[in-house]
Symmetry: C2
Subunit: 401 residues, 2 copies
């Protein structure tokens, strides 16, 4: 998320802009009124590199992800100023990767998930997926408009961050409640929330599956030499100190993936590769969660490791931190440090295992009648944000605590 802040010091000039084609809305006037909306919430990214400016401005003005000194009023202007200064470098990075694919993948995942859901949980069919991005189109306002136009009442707010962080899932939900209140839509929709799913078996399967495919990039005889480097976006230690659950939940996902692979491989008489969890994309001078992915790559290179497989574990689609930072920046650094076989796994993107997992998460949620996970109400120590961990107009209050 903060990749946008980093200076693209190795940009090659003259690289052509190669954005993905604009994605068409999937709504149709002929479709039956959806009984259940699934709101796919994520941070989003500029599908077209020229959208980078407004994307960065929303990001730097969001006090849930970054608190600039001087309070909310100052941040409005300071955020805009920083975003403007950063735009050329970050836009050039988006040009290198052909724009952010996150909208394309989120819409694909949502559509395919709903097809499975209609079969898996017909009681709440037809289901329709809507996308609400925090910093890019379609924004929360646009999703609310679309759901209203479709005449939807029951909405599952589905965080697309497998692990909770106040800086990501928290920011998306705060924005949702803020917009619902601002627009006096409190009574329009009945809400429940899927706020995290770090250990969901299907999600763990999907990551394991990507690792198995990723390992195919190495000679089978070299598999035991590979170091699996799980890389998640770092967070400031100030956030960790408040009791944000992101770091332990990411670690939980990693351990669950490796535990599953170890069971599978032991049954096949093979030895699971070594692994390490590291944290990427730190920005600024304050301490963030460590070890950093870059330091680990450098250290592995110095220790003469030649085979590294990077696995992004906290994001479900490819994005600038995978396509540019891992795929270009770290790849170049790895080469400099002598890692001759530096590979990375594709984001979950169009993975059928993953899309099945999404459908399973939603149908399990709907069957349970739960409003949110047991952890949703575990507000950070010292948090004073009024909307944080709220739910407006819950679909049912029977299971609330």
């Amino acid at each position: 998320m903060f990749q946008s802040l980093r200076i693209a010091c190795r940009l090659r000039p003259g690289v052509r802009f190669a954005a993905t084609a604009p994605v068409q809305s999937v709504s149709s006037e002929l479709a039956p009124r959806p009984q259940t909306a699934v709101l796919m919430m994520n941070m989003g990214g500029p599908s077209h590199p020229e959208d980078t400016g407004p994307f960065l401005q929303r990001l730097f003005q969001d006090r849930d992800i970054i608190e600039l000194p001087g309070g909310p009023f100052v941040q409005k202007y300071l955020g805009e100023f920083i975003a403007k200064r950063r735009t050329p470098d970050v836009q050039a990075q988006y040009e290198l990767i052909g724009g952010s694919p996150i909208r394309k993948w989120t819409e694909h995942q949502g559509e395919e998930m709903c097809k499975i859901l209609d079969v898996k949980h017909p009681e709440s069919a037809p289901h329709k997926a809507y996308t609400a991005f925090r910093y890019a189109h379609p924004l929360t306002d646009e999703a609310l408009d679309e759901m209203e136009a479709d005449g939807v009442r029951r909405v599952v707010a589905f965080s697309q961050f497998p692990q909770w962080s106040c800086t990501t899932s928290g920011s998306s939900l705060n924005e949702l409640w803020r917009k619902v209140k601002e627009r006096k839509m409190e009574a329009n929709f009945d809400w429940s929330i899927i706020d995290r799913w770090p250990l969901h078996a299907g999600f763990i399967d999907a990551v394991s599956d990507r690792i198995l495919t990723g390992l195919e990039q190495f000679d089978e005889a070299d598999h035991h030499k590979v170091v699996i480097l799980f890389s998640a976006h770092s967070v400031p230690m100030k956030v960790v100190n408040k009791g944000d659950h992101y770091v332990p939940e990411v670690a939980g996902s990693v351990k669950a993936v490796m535990d599953q692979l170890q069971t599978k491989w032991t049954n096949e008489g093979k030895r699971v590769p070594r692994h390490i969890l590291a944290w990427q994309s730190k920005v600024g001078y304050l301490p963030w969660m460590v070890p950093s992915t870059a330091d680990v790559i450098e250290g592995l290179g110095k220790r003469n490791s030649k085979h590294v497989l990077v696995v992004p574990v906290a994001f479900t689609s490819d994005h600038i931190e995978t396509l540019y930072e891992i795929g270009m920046e770290y790849a170049e650094e790895a080469e400099e440090h002598g890692i001759s076989h530096f590979k990375w796994t594709e984001g979950l993107n169009g993975s059928k295992v993953f899309i099945n997992a999404l459908a399973d998460i939603v149908s399990t949620h709907l069957k349970s009648g739960e409003l949110y996970s047991p952890q949703y109400k575990m507000k950070c120590i010292g948090c004073t944000k009024p909307l944080c961990r709220q739910i407006i107009n819950p679909a049912t209050s029977s299971t609330s605590n």
Copy 2:
């Protein structure tokens, strides 16, 4: 482990010394020669408060757990000096808890585990447990002497820290290899290592079981109000930064425990309580892993939480950090912050579920023919310690990587 460094500012004067009875060795001249030794490795603690001085001296002279400035030579004297200064306060804490129960529990666990092992894995029977503590009796030297006297060849070095840290399990194993080399015993024993078991199903069961028992201290009607506060010993961020696996492995244990409880409780139509992972016993001014247990207790109190259950998750027996720090110090702080129902779970101690888990870990290890876990050879980034992640005279080299 660093509790010893903390000033016991609330000690009540005149508390009588109440050490546990000295524990007798379980070896007997009539017993058959053990075919397999299981070396229970842990940091240990002073069984008798008057042993606190030498215990602290060994701890402060150990550069695996704490690197004092000035190098190994300076640390020998500086460590002794600090230990002497700290002894009165720490000894008073040990007097309050009646001495460290870790030897009593480790010997009990080892004995009971071997009884199960003899039935579960007769191929390697008879099994005999030996104890090697890093800072208290019986020290590594004593364990080596005892194993030699018993004529043992095959030894499983079994770290009693469920999660790996270079500061604990790493230090114990480095000490083992150092002593084996110093005493020219390289050819005396055939070794394999159980270096970690953070997600072992039986261990997870044992912690869950303690939580279920711990919850019985609250009215059932209040269970949904309880916050489960997992507390692990903190580590310096310098250690985390090197890629030490302790933080992600502890988080993995916590998530596995909560995942298991959630499945169980959901099946029973109940809602699992909220939880948080925090880190205790920081010492000094450098940054350590956060949030701190004390800060979380204060924050929960300020937020009007009245029901807290503390669960130690990174140690298998009660020790000064549970009996004194949680049971006395934090309990007093919790009361000051208005937490009227502050409870904690007992260490795994004599838990039959846990002892069964220990036996299962060893028998699975023996059956697998593995020398160590896949992670054992994942040395920290920048580590230059020559003995770190070694194995001397491996029992078999067929599965080594």
